[in-house]
C-alpha cells in the first residue's frame, strides 16, 4: 500500500511536469494531478506512523525523503490541494469546477486530520457550494479491471465484513470496541451472512452488496463535505448542530456504491459530548465504510478526543487464536530501510 501511494505521487509529479512542458493549456488535468498527489499524501498521513519519507523519482535524478511526522505530511497534502485550486481558480469550465471542488474537499479532510475541524469547515464554505450529490470517483470497467472492493471480499472471499462478535459455530468471540457492521442491519452496509466458507476454509462469509463489480468508488464527495461540517460542530461542542447535519444525511436518500440508502430515522440525542463523539464516529463509519477513512478516525479519537487505544481499537482474543495486537497505525515497510535517511518509524503513536 505504501509503495502504491508513493507511485501515485511519482506518477503525478511526472504528469505535472509533462503537462506543464508539452500541454500547458490543459490546466484542469494538471490541477487534477496535484489533487491526486494530495490524496496520496493525505492517505499516507491518515494511515501510517510518524516518520514517513516523501521521496521523488519523477526526474532524472532521485531524491530520497527524510522522515516526517504525520502532521507534516498532512501539511504537504494541503499544499498539493492548494496547488490544484490555484491552477483552476476562477475557471468556470466543468472540468475545472469539478477539480476545484475535489481539491477543496481534500484540503478540508487533511485539515480534519490536523485536528482543525473549524478550519476544515471554513475551507468547504470558501467556494461555490458543493452539492450533496457531488462526487469525484475512481471508475471501473470489466475490460480494464474490477473494483477491488468487490473483487477481494465479494468475489474472492478473502475478506469479510467485520463485526463485534467473531467465530463461526456459533460466534463466540467478543471483540471489544468493534462496530457490528455485519449484524447491525444498517442499510448503508447491507450484509448477508452465509454458511459457506471463505478462502481460508474456516470463516463463514459475510459479504456486503455495497460494491458491485464495476461500481465507482468515491475518492471525495459531497458526503465528505457534510461530515466535515458535522465534525466542526462536534469540535465546537454543539450536539444539536452535529445531529442536525447527521440527521439531514439520514433523511435524504443517496446513492452509495451500488445501493441507494433509504430514509433513515433521526438519531437519538446521546445527551453528552462524549456520547456525541461516539455517535458521530459510528455514523461516519457506516457512511464511509471501506473507503479508507476509519483508521484515521480511530487515531483522531485518541489524538483529539481524549480516547485511549484500549477503548478505541479492537481488543481481545481473535477467533483464530492469537490476541489482537497493540498497533494503532501501519508501519512504513521494512523495504524503506534501504533509504539511508530512514531507520524505522519515529514512533508508533496514534
Amino acid at each position: 500500500m505504501f509503495r502504491d501511494l508513493a507511485r501515485v505521487r511519482t506518477a503525478s509529479n511526472q504528469a505535472i511536469a509533462g503537462l506543464a512542458e508539452y500541454q500547458p493549456t490543459r490546466i484542469a488535468e494538471r490541477a487534477e494531478m496535484y489533487f491526486a498527489r494530495g490524496i496520496a499524501e493525505m492517505q499516507l498521513a491518515q494511515d501510517f506512523c510518524n516518520g514517513i519519507p516523501l521521496s521523488d523519482a519523477a526526474g532524472t535524478s532521485f531524491t530520497l525523503g527524510t522522515p516526517r511526522t504525520v502532521a507534516e505530511v498532512f501539511a504537504v497534502s494541503i499544499a498539493s490541494f492548494d496547488s490544484a485550486r490555484t491552477l483552476v481558480n476562477g475557471l468556470t469550465d466543468a472540468a475545472s469546477v469539478r477539480i476545484e471542488r475535489a481539491a477543496r474537499i481534500g484540503r478540508a479532510r487533511a485539515q480534519i486530520g490536523l485536528g482543525d475541524a473549524a478550519a476544515a469547515a471554513a475551507t468547504i464554505a470558501s467556494g461555490t457550494p458543493i452539492p450533496g450529490a457531488y462526487t469525484y470517483d475512481h471508475t471501473f470497467a470489466t475490460t480494464s479491471g474490477d473494483n477491488t472492493l468487490w473483487a477481494q471480499p465479494f468475489s474472492a472471499a478473502r475478506y469479510i465484513v467485520g463485526d463485534s462478535l467473531e467465530g463461526n459455530t456459533p460466534p463466540s468471540y467478543t471483540v471489544a470496541n468493534a462496530i457490528p457492521f455485519s449484524r447491525a442491519g444498517d442499510p448503508r452496509v447491507p450484509t448477508t451472512i452465509l454458511t459457506t466458507l471463505g478462502q481460508d476454509g474456516q470463516t463463514r462469509i459475510r459479504r456486503t452488496t455495497l460494491w458491485a463489480r464495476s461500481t465507482s468508488i468515491p475518492v471525495v464527495n459531497g458526503l465528505d463535505a457534510a461530515l466535515v461540517r458535522a465534525e466542526a460542530q462536534l469540535e465546537a461542542g454543539s450536539i444539536a448542530g452535529t445531529l442536525f447535519i447527521l440527521d439531514s444525511l439520514r433523511a435524504n436518500p443517496r446513492t452509495q456504491g451500488a445501493i441507494t440508502t433509504p430514509v433513515m430515522a433521526a438519531l437519538v440525542n446521546p445527551g453528552s459530548q462524549a456520547g456525541m463523539v461516539s455517535l458521530f464516529f459510528r455514523e461516519k463509519a457506516f457512511w464511509t465504510f471501506s473507503r479508507g477513512q476509519r483508521l484515521n478516525d480511530l487515531r483522531r479519537m485518541i489524538r483529539k478526543y481524549g480516547r485511549t487505544a484500549a477503548n478505541t481499537f479492537p481488543t481481545g482474543t481473535h477467533y483464530k487464536g492469537p490476541a489482537y495486537g497493540s498497533d494503532v497505525n501501519l508501519p512504513v515497510p521494512t523495504d524503506e530501510e534501504n533509504n539511508p535517511n530512514f531507520r524505522g518509524c519515529t514512533n508508533r503513536l496514534p
Partner: protein
C-alpha cells in the same frame, strides 16, 4: 571506440605475425605423406574410437570399427604418433614419413581400470585433457543412459561431477536449478550456459507462459539423453573465458553421438516403469472443544476461552480414498542406427517417450464426476504428463583429405501438461495441505460438493484447469574443419536452435476452482513463443614447432550469438459455454513481447607445449553485448593456465605404486551479462478507466541504469591428478577461488520513491571458494568379478565481500550483508522457552516475567539456503564373469538450512499444524508457532530447519543376456536393466523432502518447500538390444 581499436590492432598484429612466419613454415612442410594407424587391444582385437594424432601437429583422427585411421598430410621425416582412448593407457610411436608414400604404424593398447576422458572439448577445439590447466568434469553419457535410471539431461548431470549441484522440480517435465561452484550472482542468472555440438543451445528455465505456482518446463528437458555421447562441464571463469560474457557460471558442453566407420549397427531399447510417491506427508490437526463443538487452539486453551478435549487428525493426502497421489508410469522406446565409412559416417536416432506423473484424481472424485457425467477430462484425471518424440540425424563426412564436415540435426516434439500447485491459490497444494484435522468439513463454497478434508475445494476443481505446452524444436548445426596446411586448422561452427512453443491455459465455463465469483466463468489463454539461438563460431589454429622441444598453437577466433525470444498471448476470461477458443472470451486480453540479446566476441589463444609435458596457455577474449548500458561498450577477459605432467620428467622419483602425476593451475575471467533491458528506463503500458472510459496509460516499471556493466568473475584454480597402482586408482583434487566484481545486485528501491521495486546496480564483490575431489578406484579387477568405487565431493564457501558502500539489502527472511553468503537465511532466532505456568502450553506475554518463548533481539545469519557440501558415492560390483553389474548412487548434501514454508503457512494461516492445536506437541514445535504468530518479532527462524540429507538416489542392476538368449532375439548383444531413482532418504528435515522446491525454475536462489508435493520414486525395467 578505444576498445574497438585495441581489438583491431591485436588481430592485425597477429595476422601480420602469421604472415611473417608462413613462408618458412610452408617451405619446410610442403611435402607430405600418409600414415595408416592400426590400433588393437591386448587380445589383438581391433579397437575403435581411438583418438590418433601426430604429436605437436593438428593432424589427427579416430579409428573405426576396424581399428584403423588414416592420417593424411603428415610432414615428412620422423613423426611421433599418439594413440589414446578412455580405459586404455596412452601410447606413442615414432615413424618416418616419406613424401607421397603410406607409412604403417600399429598400437596394442593396454587396458587400465580407471582413466578420465582422453580428450576434452574447449572453445578452441578438441584438446587432450592433459594439456588443459582447468578441471573439466566429464560424464560418459552413453554408458550412463544404458545402465542407470536416466529420464532426461538433468538426471545425467545430477550428482555425477564434483562442483555441480542440481535440484529438480517434482512434476514430470519440469526443469531444475543447476549451480556450478556456488552462486556468483545475487540477481542475475546463476545457471550455466549449454553448448551442443559446438553451437549455443537454448536452455531457458521456467519456459512456460502461465503461472502454475510450481516448477515449470525447461528447454533442457527437451534434449534426449540417449543421443548424447558425452558431457563436459566447464566449471568456472578460468575455463569458461573463451565462451565469453555469460559463461561465468560454467558451461555444459554436450557432444551427441556420431557414427563410426564400420558395418551398420542397430541399437534398440525399450523401457517401462512406474512412478510412486512414498514421501512422508504431514497430518492436519484441529484442537476441538466438545462443549462448543468448535475448534479450539492452544492460545485459546491457555487463555481459558475454550477447552481442547480432543485433537482431531486427518490428511487427505494420506487417506487412500481422498489422496490426489497415485501411481505414475513411464515408457520409452528408441531405435538407433550408426555406421558408415571413413568418407561418410552417420548416426540416426528416433525415440518415443511417455511419462505420466503421480497426480491422480482421488477415488471419491472419480465416483462423483462419473455420476455427474461432466467435468471429468483426461487432464482432470491425470493433470501431469509428458509425451515426447525425438529424431536425430548426424553425419560426418571427410569431403577431402583437408576438409571434414559434420552436420547435426535434431527435431524434438513434445506435449506436456502440469498441475497448478504449491504457490498457486487455485492449486492442489494449497488445498491438500490446508484442510482441517477431519474429513467432514463441509462443502465447496456455492456447491453441494463435500470437501473431504481439503481446504476450500477438491482436486477436481483445481484440475479442471488445463496447463499444457506443445513444443516443436529444431536444433541444427554445421561444423566444418579445413586444414589447408598440415600446420593450420580452420573451423566453422554455425548453428541454430529454434523452438516454437505453444502454451495453453483452459478453464471451460462452469469449471475450475471457485476462487472468485468470476473464475468459473471460464477462460482460455493461448501463448505462442518463438525462441531462437543462432550462433557462429569461427576459429583458426596454427601450429608451429619453434624448437624440437617447443610447440606452439595459436588460435584466433570469433563468436557471435544472437538470442531472440518473441511471444504473443491471446486470451481473456469469461468463455462462452462449450467454447475453447481464445476468441470466445467475453473479456479479451492481448500481450506481446520481444527480447533480443546479441553478443560478439573475439579471442586469441596461445598454447605452448614444452616437451609434450609442460603446457602453458594464454588467451584473451573481448566481448560486446547488446545488454550493456549505453556508457559501457565492451569487456575483455584474460586467461592463463599451466599443466605439467611431472611424472614424465626424467628427474621425477616417486613410489612404484604411483603411475602419473599432473599438476595444473589456471586463471581466467568471464562474465554474466545483465538482462537485455536492465539498463533501460522503462514504462509499461497499462489500461485503466478514467471517468467511465477505458483509457491507455503508462506505469513506471524500470528505473534503468546507464552505467550497467556485466558482472566479471575472476577465478584461480589449482589442482592435481594422480594415478595409482597401475591405473586402478585415480585422484583428482582441485581448489578454486572465484571472485565476482561489479556484482549485479537487484537493489531494493525504497518504496517512497514510487518507482519500480528494484533496480540493477553494479555493486561490490562476491567470492566463492571450495574444493572438488574425484576419486575412482577399481578395487577388485578379476576376469570373473570386479568392484569399483567412485567418490565425488565438493565444498563451497560463498561470501559477499563488498556492497560498494550501500546499505545491506534487508528482506523478511534473508539479507544481503557483507561478510555473509549471498543467499542465506536470516531471522531473529528462538533462543529458548520455559513453560512458566506449567500448563504444557507455551504462550507469549508482553510481560517479561510471564513470557514463555524467547527470541533474539536482532536478526542473525541462520544458514546457507543451498547445501555447501556435496558428496556422491557410486559403488559398483560386477559378477558372473562381469555379466551382472550392480551399482548405486548415494547422494549426501549438507551445510544448509531448508525453509519449511509449508509448515509455516499451515501454522500461520491454515491453523492446522501440530504446534498450534495439539497440547501434546513438543515445546519446540509450539515455540516455532508462538515465535512466528504471537511474538512481536514475527520470526520464521523456527521454520529454517536442518537441510542435510542422504539419499539413495539411484540403484541399478544390469545383466548382459547370455548368447542363447541373444541368439533367440537375433541380436549381437542384449542387456536387461532394473533401475530405481529416489529410492530412500534420510534427513532431520521436518518437512516432506529436503529438496522440495517450487522455485527451481524461477531463477531464484532461495529454495523452499511451499505446499509442494515431494519427488516421486522411479522403478524402471529396460531392455537393450544391439544388432
Amino acid at each position: 571506440m578505444r576498445s574497438s581499436l585495441t581489438r583491431a590492432a591485436l588481430c592485425g598484429a597477429f595476422l601480420a605475425a602469421i604472415a611473417a612466419g608462413t613462408p618458412r613454415i610452408v617451405a619446410a612442410q610442403s611435402a607430405t605423406g600418409t600414415i595408416v594407424v592400426t590400433v588393437k587391444d591386448a587380445a589383438g582385437a581391433p579397437l575403435p574410437q581411438v583418438q590418433v594424432a601426430i604429436v605437436n601437429t593438428l593432424v589427427g583422427g579416430q579409428t573405426g570399427d576396424d581399428g584403423k585411421a588414416t592420417l593424411r598430410g603428415a610432414a615428412t621425416g620422423p613423426q611421433q604418433v599418439r594413440a589414446l582412448r578412455i580405459g586404455f593407457a596412452e601410447q606413442k610411436r615414432t615413424v618416418t614419413v616419406v613424401a607421397g608414400q603410406v607409412t604403417q604404424v600399429e598400437f596394442a593398447l593396454q587396458a587400465v581400470a580407471v582413466t578420465l576422458n582422453a580428450v576434452v572439448s574447449t572453445a578452441t577445439g578438441t584438446t587432450r585433457r592433459v594439456e588443459v590447466g582447468n578441471s573439466i568434469g566429464t560424464i560418459d553419457a552413453a554408458s550412463e543412459t544404458k545402465l542407470k535410471p536416466i529420464s532426461n539431461l538433468q538426471d545425467l548431470l545430477n550428482a555425477r561431477t564434483p562442483g555441480v549441484q542440481l535440484s529438480t522440480g517434482t512434476q514430470s517435465g519440469t526443469g531444475a536449478r543447476v549451480r556450478i561452484r556456488g552462486q556468483g550472482s545475487l540477481n542475475l542468472s546463476n545457471d550455466p550456459i549449454y553448448v551442443i555440438d559446438g553451437v549455443r543451445m537454448t536452455s531457458n528455465n521456467g519456459s512456460f507462459a502461465f503461472f502454475t505456482g510450481d516448477a515449470q518446463a525447461s528447454r533442457v528437458v527437451d534434449i534426449n539423453p540417449e543421443e548424447i555421447e558425452s558431457i563436459e562441464v566447464v566449471k568456472g571463469p578460468s575455463a569458461a573465458t573463451l565462451y565469453g560474457t555469460d559463461a561465468a557460471n560454467g558451461v555444459i558442453v554436450i557432444t551427441t553421438r556420431r557414427g563410426r566407420a564400420g558395418a551398420p549397427r542397430w541399437n534398440v531399447y525399450s523401457e517401462t516403469g512406474v512412478l510412486a510417491d512414498h514421501n512422508p506427508y504431514p497430518t492436519n490437526f484441529t484442537g476441538w472443544d466438545g462443549t462448543t463443538n468448535a475448534p479450539c487452539r492452544l492460545p485459546g486453551e491457555s487463555a481459558g476461552t475454550c477447552n481442547i478435549d480432543s485433537v482431531r487428525t486427518y490428511s487427505p493426502i494420506i487417506d487412500p480414498d481422498a489422496t490426489p497421489i497415485g501411481r505414475g508410469s513411464r515408457s520409452q522406446t528408441g531405435l538407433q542406427l550408426s555406421g558408415g565409412s571413413e568418407a561418410l559416417r552417420y548416426f540416426i536416432g528416433f525415440e518415443n517417450e511417455n511419462e505420466t506423473g503421480v497426480f491422480k484424481l482421488p477415488k471419491f472424485e472419480e465416483r462423483q464426476l462419473d455420476s455427474l457425467g461432466v467435468g471429468n477430462h483426461f487432464y482432470t484425471r491425470r493433470p501431469n504428463a509428458l509425451d515426447k518424440q525425438s529424431f536425430r540425424l548426424n553425419m560426418n563426412s571427410a569431403i577431402s583429405p583437408k576438409l571434414d564436415v559434420a552436420v547435426s540435426s535434431n527435431y524434438i516434439r513434445s506435449t506436456s501438461r502440469l498441475s497448478n500447485s504449491s504457490n498457486a491459490t487455485a492449486g492442489i497444494g494449497s488445498q491438500a495441505y490446508g484442510g482441517p484435522g477431519y474429513r467432514n468439513n463441509g462443502l465447496v463454497s456455492g456447491t453441494n460438493t463435500p470437501l473431504n478434508g481439503y481446504r476450500a475445494w477438491t482436486p477436481a476443481y483445481s484440475w479442471q484447469e488445463l496447463y499444457q505446452q506443445g513444443v516443436d524444436r529444431f536444433i541444427t548445426s554445421l561444423n566444418a574443419q579445413w586444414r589447408p596446411f598440415s600446420w593450420m586448422q580452420n573451423r566453422v561452427n554455425i548453428g541454430n536452435d529454434f523452438t516454437a512453443r505453444e502454451d495453453n491455459n483452459l478453464r471451460l465455463r462452469g469449471e475450475g476452482a471457485p476462487l472468485t465469483a468470476t473464475y468459473r466463468l471460464g477462460a482460455k489463454n493461448n501463448a505462442r513463443a518463438g525462441i531462437q539461438n543462432f550462433s557462429v563460431d569461427l576459429g583458426s589454429t596454427s601450429s608451429y614447432q619453434a624448437l624440437p622441444w617447443i610447440n606452439t598453437k595459436t588460435t584466433v577466433g570469433m563468436q557471435y550469438v544472437h538470442f531472440a525470444f518473441n511471444t504473443n498471448n491471446a486470451g481473456g476470461s469469461e468463455l462462452s459455454a462449450g467454447s475453447q477458443q481464445a476468441g470466445a472470451n467475453a473479456l479479451p486480453s492481448v500481450s506481446e513481447s520481444a527480447v533480443t540479446a546479441r553478443t560478439l566476441g573475439f579471442f586469441l589463444e596461445e598454447a605452448i607445449a614444452f616437451n609434450d609435458r609442460l603446457f602453458v596457455t594464454l588467451a584473451v577474449r573481448t566481448d560486446q553485448n547488446s545488454a550493456f548500458g549505453t556508457d559501457f561498450q565492451s569487456v575483455a577477459y584474460p586467461k592463463a593456465s599451466v599443466s605439467w605432467i611431472i611424472s614424465d620428467e626424467s628427474w621425477y622419483r616417486a613410489p612404484a605404486w604411483t603411475d602419473n602425476l599432473r599438476i595444473r593451475a589456471a586463471f581466467g575471467e568471464s562474465g554474466v551479462q545483465p538482462g537485455p533491458n536492465d539498463a533501460l528506463r522503462a514504462f509499461a503500458a497499462a489500461q485503466t478507466n478514467v471517468n467511465g472510459a477505458d483509457t491507455p496509460g503508462l506505469q513506471f516499471s524500470a528505473i534503468g541504469n546507464n552505467a550497467l556493466q556485466p558482472e566479471t568473475s575472476r577465478e584461480f584454480e589449482v589442482g592435481f591428478e594422480l594415478g595409482l597402482l597401475s591405473g586402478r586408482y585415480n585422484v583428482d583434487l582441485t581448489y578454486y577461488n572465484k571472485k565476482t566484481r561489479d556484482a549485479l545486485i537487484s537493489a531494493i528501491v525504497p518504496p517512497s520513491l514510487g518507482a519500480a521495486t528494484n533496480v540493477q546496480r553494479n555493486l561490490g564483490a562476491t567470492q566463492n571458494t571450495g574444493f572438488e575431489l574425484l576419486a575412482r578406484g577399481q578395487i577388485v579387477d578379476r576376469a570373473w568379478w570386479g568392484a569399483d568405487l567412485t567418490i565425488s565431493a565438493s565444498s563451497n564457501k560463498n561470501e559477499l565481500l563488498d556492497l560498494g558502500g550501500t546499505p545491506a539489502q534487508i528482506g523478511v527472511n534473508n539479507r544481503v550483508t557483507e561478510g555473509y553468503p549471498l543467499a542465506g537465511w536470516w531471522g531473529r532466532p528462538i533462543t529458548g522457552w520455559d513453560d512458566r505456568n506449567g500448563d504444557g502450553i507455551l504462550t507469549y506475554n508482553a510481560n517479561d516475567a510471564l513470557n514463555e518463548v524467547f527470541v533474539g533481539d536482532s536478526a542473525v545469519f541462520l544458514g546457507y539456503s543451498t547445501p555447501r557440501y556435496n558428496m556422491a558415492i557410486t559403488p559398483g560390483v560386477d559378477l558372473f564373469n562381469r555379466k551382472l553389474r550392480i551399482s548405486a548412487l548415494i547422494d549426501r548434501r549438507d551445510g544448509n538450512r531448508y525453509y519449511n514454508n509449508t509448515e509455516r503457512i499451515r501454522c500461520a494461516s491454515r491453523l492446522n499444524c501440530n504446534g498450534l492445536n495439539n497440547p501434546r506437541a513438543s515445546f519446540e514445535e509450539q515455540a516455532m508457532v508462538v515465535a512466528a504468530l504471537n511474538h512481536p518479532a514475527r520470526t520464521n527462524a523456527g521454520y529454517m530447519q536442518p537441510g542435510a540429507f542422504t539419499r539413495l538416489r539411484e540403484i541399478s542392476v544390469s545383466y548382459e543376456l547370455p548368447s542363447v538368449l541373444t541368439n533367440a532375439l537375433r541380436s549381437k548383444n542384449a542387456s536387461l536393466t532394473f533401475a530405481a531413482r529416489n529410492v530412500a532418504t534420510w534427513t532431520r528435515y521436518r518437512g516432506v523432502d529436503p529438496e522440495n522446491d517450487f522455485t527451481v525454475t524461477d531463477g531464484g536462489n532461495f529454495p523452499q518447500d511451499f505446499q509442494t508435493f515431494g519427488p516421486a520414486s522411479f522403478f524402471i525395467l529396460r531392455l537393450n538390444l544391439g544388432f
